[in-house]
């Protein structure tokens, strides 16, 4: 080959990679647009302005109002969460967190370790929600795709060892071009998360579903799903090898656990204690069957289903958890930091202002309200985030 031909080939390959990158950016899992905004906003935050990152499931972004914690205590925190985030991808999310910021505190959701990993479609969707939103042009994205292929292949015999769609999302989602709901403008241009990661949804943020308290039994044990168990040890090894100077806190946001979930969380807690990891279990109850932590929850008002708070519950939870973090960790007060003020000031007020708007809309459609009460919990249809 001549020099010119070599340069041409390299140039063409580069152009091809650009095209592939754009196509993967254009096509992603349908409701990943919401998650994508959360992650792209994180990447756009000013350098060194995030003190804590929360990684996990909706047990993070439905509960934690980072903007409130900033307003009341001055430290900044951001959720890198996706729906039912799989534990086996935690390492890559942690890498994403540290690629763009240098948080001194890492808060990891315990819920993924209690998941079942037996349904192929569910696992596929959970994984793709993460793969579609972490930085595509990164080594850890490649590693995340390869690990997902490995986990899927080992869990399901008929899954091929190599599946290019886990590396190039366009292979999986290209048929969305004919979907009425697909929007090029939305995918390309609406990239900012208005509430710095906190989930605001016109139905779920104001939905009130009464819950019955579950008495927590710390002595009941169930074994973890094998995939989740392996993921736990992988994460621990990764943290010890790469971030041993960082503070890590595992946490379980308050929910109404099934017996199986409770048993698994107890097993997980034992494993955490054995590894010397910090944790906080917000599902613990006292002898009267109340949450051990005084959230001030109104069980008829503060949850939209058994596993998630609405805004009201999140507001109360954040108050308690922020105080806990402020007391336990020496996090800075950034309320006078211009770089932080520029991006964080006023966000909590925006969230608080949005809620009455949503309530007014809901009241205006009273028939819709009663229909909402009858709707089954749909774990996969997040609806549109605001």
């Amino acid at each position: 080959m001549t020099k010119k031909q070599i340069f041409c080939s390299i140039g063409f390959l580069f152009a091809t990679c650009v095209v592939l990158y754009l196509l993967c950016d254009l096509f992603e899992l349908k409701n990943s647009t919401n998650f994508a905004r959360r992650f792209s906003t994180y990447r756009d935050l000013h350098e060194d302005t995030v003190d804590a990152v929360l990684i996990g499931t909706s047990g993070v972004d439905r509960y934690w109002i980072g903007a409130k914690a900033y307003e009341e205590y001055g430290f900044t925190s951001y959720p890198l969460s996706t729906g039912e985030q799989p534990a086996w991808l935690y390492e890559y999310l942690i890498e994403e967190a540290y690629t763009y910021q240098d948080p001194e505190l890492l808060i990891l959701d315990m819920r993924p370790f209690g998941q079942d990993n037996v349904d192929e479609v569910e696992m596929d969707v959970k994984a793709r929600r993460v793969l579609d939103v972490i930085e595509p042009l990164s080594i850890y994205r490649l590693k995340a795709g390869l690990k997902t292929m490995k986990v899927m292949h080992e869990t399901f015999e008929d899954k091929p060892r190599f599946d290019i769609s886990y590396l190039l999302s366009v292979v999986k989602y290209h048929e969305q071009w004919s979907d009425d709901k697909y929007s090029v403008e939305k995918n390309l241009f609406e990239r900012q998360h208005k509430y710095l990661g906190f989930y605001v949804n016109k139905k779920k943020s104001i939905r009130k579903k009464p819950q019955e308290m579950v008495i927590y039994d710390p002595n009941y044990y169930e074994s973890l799903d094998p995939v989740a168990e392996q993921a736990f040890y992988d994460v621990i090894d990764y943290l010890k090898e790469n971030h041993k100077d960082k503070k890590v806190l595992f946490y379980l946001s308050p929910k109404f656990l099934t017996t199986l979930e409770m048993g698994r969380m107890n097993t997980l807690i034992d494993m955490l204690e054995k590894e010397g990891m910090d944790y906080v279990n917000f599902c613990e109850t006292d002898e009267n069957g109340q949450f051990a932590y005084d959230f001030g929850f109104d069980l008829s008002y503060d949850f939209y289903d058994g596993g998630h708070t609405n805004f009201y519950g999140a507001d109360k939870f954040t108050g308690v958890f922020a105080a806990y973090l402020d007391e336990k960790y020496d996090l800075p007060d950034r309320r006078n930091d211009p770089a932080v003020k520029e991006q964080w000031d006023g966000i909590y007020d925006k969230i608080k202002a949005k809620i009455p708007e949503l309530e007014a809309e809901a009241q205006a459609a009273a028939a819709l309200q009663s229909q909402m009460e009858a709707e089954p919990d749909d774990q996969y249809d997040e609806g549109e985030e605001e």
Binding site: M1, T2, Q5, C8, G11, F12, A15, T16, V19, L20, L23, F27, F162, D163, I164, S165, V170, V171, K172, H174, E175, W177, S178
Partner: protein, 537 residues
């Protein structure tokens, strides 16, 4: 391994890298390993067939070569001691032996093909015949799955044997290189067919890395993938629906039949030619030039012209090994003489021109499948082509009487539309669930069209398996295909022409096509991309 799968592209990339990295004298070995690796990836059960064909054909050709070489050596050894007549007699004796070997080897190869593909047909028809006579006899069905590429490598092998027998070239002495000729992986699934003297020598030879070959080959592959994944695998939804027993059991219009057959025409063309483009593109990347198999068949002005543009390698094979031998055979010559004596010079001239196509197209029909539908289709094509030959003077006279200028674009357009109409009938015969269904569909197409255009109103056209956005996309893709076809029909070499353009334009066109395929191709998890139609032959 599907030709449009990611695994296949990785496989090609690895083979090409190895091909150019190894010492040139081992390039054939890489291709042979790759070919058998590809073949084994489809299953090990049918390896015995290709191995037998390879070894048997090799041995047969080597024996014929040995007979000639030995005779040559004997003649040379005797020098001036033998006369010319004696030399001629010795050669005649050897050629008789060669002929016997030729017949045995060809019959065995053909026998395997016929047994594997036709035994089911013959047994089931025999059992039906026994049923007609109420005989309580039944031959057990033989269920044999044809090994991958059986028709292709058998025809290639038979062509090779005949070429050696007719002294077109010497037999290949190297077993490995011959095995490569039989099993060359890009072409084993669906052709094209090729002769040893054209391609076999290229496969056995050495090839320097050539940047243009790599580039042009990759572009051809991309074009083939476009045809297959964007058009063929999308439009098949229409043809599969229209030709399904469930659809045909209900009420339908002739316009729907036409729409279905139009879809099937595009499906079969894009699937087959797309696959061939991928095959030729892969070969070109390794410096191997495989014969062109399609030349804008939709621009054909007659059925004969169509078959000169469609599956050209099969046509060339039939021409060389069936058509000309029949034309020049003694029985046909004698028949031609009798016809000339009885009916005049013209009759004597057209007899071989009618008989040979009848045989060729009957064989082409059954090559596609041994069912009554393919047999009838073969005869249909044969009758049209033979009658065209016979009636050519009459058509010329008619044009003269009606003062039609046959050199105009409008006349050419008429010829193309007429040919397409005839082809539609052929497609229906083949694609319909049964011959009975085919005849009903053809009748409806001409007698129950859709007088009020109900099918074209109120979006009903989008109820034939493809919705409005997909239909729009198909239209755009077919327009792209048409534009490229027109450019090629006018003699433009697309890839060479593109190579002369500014690099931004060049890259833009290729990347636009790549993006088009990635976005609009029928592939990936959730799709059921059909296998190449011609892969089952």
């Amino acid at each position: 391994m599907s030709f449009t799968s990611f695994n296949f592209f990785i496989f090609i990339a690895v083979v090409i890298v190895l091909y150019y990295v190894v010492p040139k004298k081992l390039q054939w070995a890489i291709l042979l390993l790759a070919s058998y690796g590809f073949y084994l990836s489809t299953g090990t059960d049918n390896l015995a067939y290709i191995l037998f064909t390879t070894l048997f054909t090799y041995a047969g050709a080597m024996y014929m070569q040995k007979l000639r070489d030995d005779n040559r050596a004997k003649v040379q050894a005797q020098g001036d001691d033998i006369t010319k007549d004696q030399k001629r007699a010795m050669k005649k004796e050897v050629e008789k032996k060669v002929k016997r070997v030729q017949i045995i080897t060809v019959v065995v190869n053909l026998g395997i093909l016929v047994f594997v593909k036709a035994s089911g047909f013959f047994i089931s028809n025999l059992n039906d015949l026994f049923g007609v006579f109420n005989w309580d006899v039944s031959v057990p069905m033989v269920n044999i799955i044809a090994p991958l590429g059986l028709s292709y490598y058998t025809f290639n092998s038979i062509g090779y044997l005949l070429d050696v027998a007719h002294a077109k070239h010497d037999a290949e002495r190297h077993l490995g290189k011959f095995a490569l000729f039989v099993s060359f992986f890009p072409s084993i699934v669906q052709g094209p067919l090729f002769r040893y003297k054209d391609v076999g020598t290229q496969l056995a030879g050495t090839h320097e890395f050539n940047y243009d070959n790599l580039k042009f080959g990759a572009q051809l592959i991309l074009w083939g993938v476009f045809k297959k994944l964007v058009i063929a695998d999308r439009v098949c939804a229409i043809s599969n629906l229209v030709f399904s027993p469930e659809f045909l059991a209900g009420e339908y219009y002739g316009s729907q039949v036409f729409f279905g057959v139009l879809a099937y025409s595009f499906q079969i063309y894009c699937d087959f030619s797309g696959g061939t483009d991928i095959t030729r593109g892969v070969a070109q990347m390794m410096g191997i030039d495989l014969p062109v198999n399609f030349e804008q068949p939709f621009f054909a002005t007659s059925m004969a012209d169509f078959w000169r543009r469609w599956h050209m390698s099969l046509g060339a094979w039939m021409r060389e090994f069936v058509f000309f031998p029949i034309m020049l055979s003694k029985p046909v010559s004698n028949l031609s003489k009798k016809a000339r004596n009885r009916f005049g010079a013209y009759a004597g001239k057209i007899v071989p021109s009618v008989i040979a196509p009848m045989v060729v197209f009957f064989l082409i029909g059954i090559w596609h499948g041994i069912t009554w539908q393919y047999i009838v289709n073969g005869l249909y094509n044969a009758i049209i082509i033979s009658s065209t030959v016979a009636l050519t003077p009459a058509y010329a006279k008619l044009a003269e009487v009606l003062r039609i200028n046959t050199e105009t674009f409008s006349f050419r357009l008429f010829q193309m539309l007429r040919t397409f109409g005839l082809l539609c009938i052929s497609r229906i015969i083949v694609k319909a669930p049964s011959l009975g269904d085919a005849f009903v569909m053809i009748k409806k197409m001409f007698t129950s069209w859709d007088p009020d255009f109900i099918f074209f109103r109120d979006g009903k056209i989008f109820t034939l398996g493809v919705d409005a956005p997909q239909m729009t996309l198909l239209f755009v893709a077919i327009m792209i295909l048409l534009v490229v076809g027109i450019l090629r029909e006018n003699g433009m070499k697309i890839r060479e022409s593109l190579a002369k353009q500014h690099f931004l334009f060049r890259w833009g066109m290729v990347l636009a096509l790549l993006a088009f395929v990635l976005i609009f191709g029928v592939y990936g998890p959730g799709y059921d991309a059909s296998a190449f139609i011609y892969g089952r032959f």
